[in-house]
């Protein structure tokens, strides 16, 4: 979880102290915006490239035989700070994970902050601190950024967009269309933690729980897996739409069927209980630190063993197989021996009435 922002450690806080909240002037392009960048963002995210504050970052990348991975994501989570994390670390890990799902090591991030007038400066500080800590933990440099301010009522406090660039080492061939019959389907840990942590603090649905978001960077886990075998065919981080959406997207891209056993899917008891209470299916609940891997069935044990050696993969489980039947479709075997199609979710997850 992000530490509370310590206002006393700011460098030259004077210009900002006049405004305990974001005002339109912070996005005007003038001195106030410059102060915000120089006193809030730069000290926390500083590096040689960002420090130049150029219109674009110039990156020295030695490609050699590597390939580039490039991904962007926007973060609009509500509330901004939630059990287990905040929009700050989410914005780093979300894009880092998207890049890592190609097998790449993430190197650089851009950061665009869209601030709503009235956002408390202290909250922005807290979130930016979490953002910086996440970038440092992940080993990515934030090399370019942007700040905009929108009128009160035109944003939800703070939106963040990040774009990431990473390097895919030679020999790694991971793509959503690469699943083959007989491949093993592995999930890296318990599902539904993030979605239920958010749900537990939403207005109107608050319930007491100790569920924390699983927000975490997955690139090291991926590196550990690739060190065990290069025969990893597909990776997907199971964010919105949950495990069900990730499996459906892979089945459709690869034109194969996926069959898995519901009872094998790792699930925290508290998440299971919360899902039961709200009438939600954990297969559809969002994750922010879990991946699905489809790997050559013959090396599944090696990959699993490697995952188990990493803190974020200790509960990694083989849940199913890639099959030739029902191409494009995901079918689960239920606990009582029946089967059902696990389709894409229709829209927003809605708590059931009873």
């Amino acid at each position: 979880m992000s530490e509370p922002f310590d206002i006393s450690t700011w460098t030259c806080p004077l210009p900002l102290q006049n405004y305990p909240t974001i005002v339109m002037g912070h996005g005007s392009g003038g001195r106030m915006m410059s102060d915000l960048i120089r006193h809030m963002f730069l000290p926390l995210l500083d590096n040689e490239v960002l420090h130049q504050l150029g219109d674009a970052a110039v990156l020295d990348i030695d490609l050699d035989l590597s390939r580039l991975a490039f991904s962007t994501d926007s973060f609009v989570v509500h509330p901004l700070i939630f059990p287990g994390g905040s929009i700050g670390d989410l914005a780093v890990y979300g894009t880092v994970n998207d890049v890592a799902m190609t097998g790449a090591r993430p190197l650089f991030l851009s950061a665009a902050f869209i601030l709503e007038e009235g956002l408390p400066m202290e909250k922005l500080g807290q979130i930016t601190t979490a953002f910086a800590a996440a970038a440092e933990k992940t080993g990515v440099q934030v090399v370019t950024g942007d700040t905009k301010v929108v009128n009160k009522g035109h944003g939800d406090g703070l939106f963040i967009n990040t774009t990431g660039i990473g390097l895919i080492p030679p020999g790694v061939q991971i793509a959503p269309g690469n699943a083959r019959e007989g491949d093993a389907v592995i999930v890296s840990g318990t599902i539904g933690d993030h979605g239920m942590a958010i749900m537990s603090v939403r207005e109107g649905l608050e319930f007491e729980t100790r569920i924390l978001s699983d927000t975490a960077p997955l690139h090291e886990l991926v590196e550990t897996m690739l060190a065990a075998s290069l025969d990893i065919h597909c990776l997907r981080d199971a964010t919105r739409g949950g495990l069900a959406a990730a499996l459906n997207e892979l089945a459709k891209s690869s034109r194969v069927g996926i069959s898995f056993e519901e009872d094998r899917v790792p699930l925290q008891p508290a998440v299971k209980a919360a899902c039961e209470m709200l009438g939600m299916d954990p297969l559809y609940v969002a994750n922010e630190g879990k991946l699905v891997a489809i790997v050559n069935g013959e090396i599944a044990d090696e990959v699993l063993a490697a995952m188990h050696s990493h803190p974020l993969g200790q509960e990694a489980t083989l849940i199913g197989r890639v099959v030739v039947e029902h191409p494009g479709m995901v079918v689960s075997k239920t606990g009582i021996g029946g089967s059902r199609v696990v389709d894409l979710p229709a829209g927003e997850l809605l708590p059931r009435i009873c």
């Binding site: 075997k333 029946g338 009435i353």
Partner: protein, 372 residues
């Protein structure tokens, strides 16, 4: 998880299924009344594991599905007003009204909020004294006690900016209507365990006496369902018709008396229109005169004239009476999907059509080897 996993036990379910197999000798049509049960049956794949003689037909017990179009349109009219905060159970937001749904109202700037309990709507009212909070009070006897409690608390605490748009329905009159319908041939009913937790099952004795059909109170997990079906089949095969309780860990004959008491204090029975079915006499609750100040239809009389006509394409009424299976509808999976539902049965995850779509749409295509 305790009290859950043991009722999802595969071995015990298969044992009960094999007993059903041994007991059954001829075809029976058995209706599970509640949409939550339909959902559970399809989700666990239990329907595929039953012997072919047993035809489960899905009943009218989905509160989202049977809430009449008129009430949805009234909800939409209220939610569109700038001085109103409209609070609802989540799955009502996607139910199509005659022109749009509550999600569209929200997108157009209406203040529509999802709550898990009517007491949370009351909290929103306390926090927003300059607005009126209208809660969509729908559901069967299961949601009625909490909804009654919210209205009672609003009165006791003097919260004047709270109102309820009431569309409550009750189970026994619906079963009577189904048995009175000349087209319907249901041999037995699986009663909704949570409704009986509140109301008990004493009301069903007169239905059993009058129509000579077994009624078995059923829970929601695979073991509960298989056990209830077995008890039902045994009665049918022996020519018996009794009320039986296969959900004794939650239900007794009298039910939850304090819950019934609060329902009776706040609500009285009234004729109620059921979407797709029509008006069933004395099948709903409305607020008693002492609580009329909280009745949204009385507080906002301009909505009383809203009276739309149902689309002719949707056969949800036939589905809700067990006359048609969802996949027998020509629009099923084509014009009508969960993304763009024609009728409410395709919206709620308890709706029979949505349950079929989500879990069984491609059942015919599945590899037979996967089935046990």
């Amino acid at each position: 998880m305790k009290y859950l996993d043991e009722y999802r036990d595969g071995e015990l379910t298969r044992k009960l299924l094999s007993e059903i197999n041994q007991a059954v000798t001829r075809p029976w049509k058995i209706m599970e009344v509640c949409g939550g049960q339909t959902h559970s049956i399809i989700k666990s794949g239990l329907d595929q594991l039953l012997p072919p003689e047993i035809d489960l037909v899905h009943g009218p017990g989905c509160p989202v599905c049977v809430t009449p179009l008129e009430l949805i349109d009234k909800a939409i009219a209220l939610a569109s007003q700038p001085e109103i905060i409209f609070a609802s159970y989540g799955d009502m937001l996607r139910v199509p009204g005659s022109e749009k749904d509550l999600f569209s109202v929200k997108a157009a700037g209406g203040d529509v909020r999802i709550v898990y309990s009517p007491l949370d709507a009351l909290k929103i009212a306390r926090q927003n004294p300059d607005k009126t909070v209208v809660f969509f009070g729908i559901g069967f006897e299961t949601t009625a006690p909490a909804n009654a409690m919210a209205v009672m608390q609003a009165k006791n605490q003097g919260i004047k900016n709270f109102a309820m748009l009431v569309s409550h329905v009750t189970v026994p009159p619906a079963i009577t209507a189904i048995m009175e319908s000349p087209q319907v041939q249901v041999n037995a009913f699986l009663a909704a365990g949570h409704v009986c937790t509140v109301m008990g099952y004493w009301e069903y004795q007169q239905l059993v006496d009058k129509y000579q059909v077994p009624v078995v109170v059923m829970g929601f997990e695979p073991v509960d369902i298989a056990r209830a079906i077995l008890m039902c089949v045994k009665q049918l095969e022996n020519g018996q018709a009794k009320v039986a309780n296969a959900y004794a860990r939650s239900v007794d004959e009298a039910g939850n008396l304090p819950a019934q008491d609060i329902i009776n204090q706040v609500f009285e029975t009234t004729d109620r229109a059921w979407r797709g079915i029509g008006t069933i006499p004395l099948s709903g609750y409305r607020l008693r005169a002492a609580y009329h100040q909280f009745d949204a239809e009385l507080r906002f009389p301009e909505i009383q004239t809203i009276n739309p006509q149902e689309s002719s394409l949707c056969i949800s009424g036939l589905v809700l009476q067990g006359l048609k299976k969802p996949n027998e509808c020509p629009a099923f999976g084509k014009e009508c999907t969960p993304q763009s539902p024609l009728g409410a049965t395709m919206v709620s995850s308890e709706g029979a059509c949505a349950a079929y779509y989500q879990y069984g749409r491609y059942a015919a295509n599945l590899d037979q080897k996967e089935d046990i």
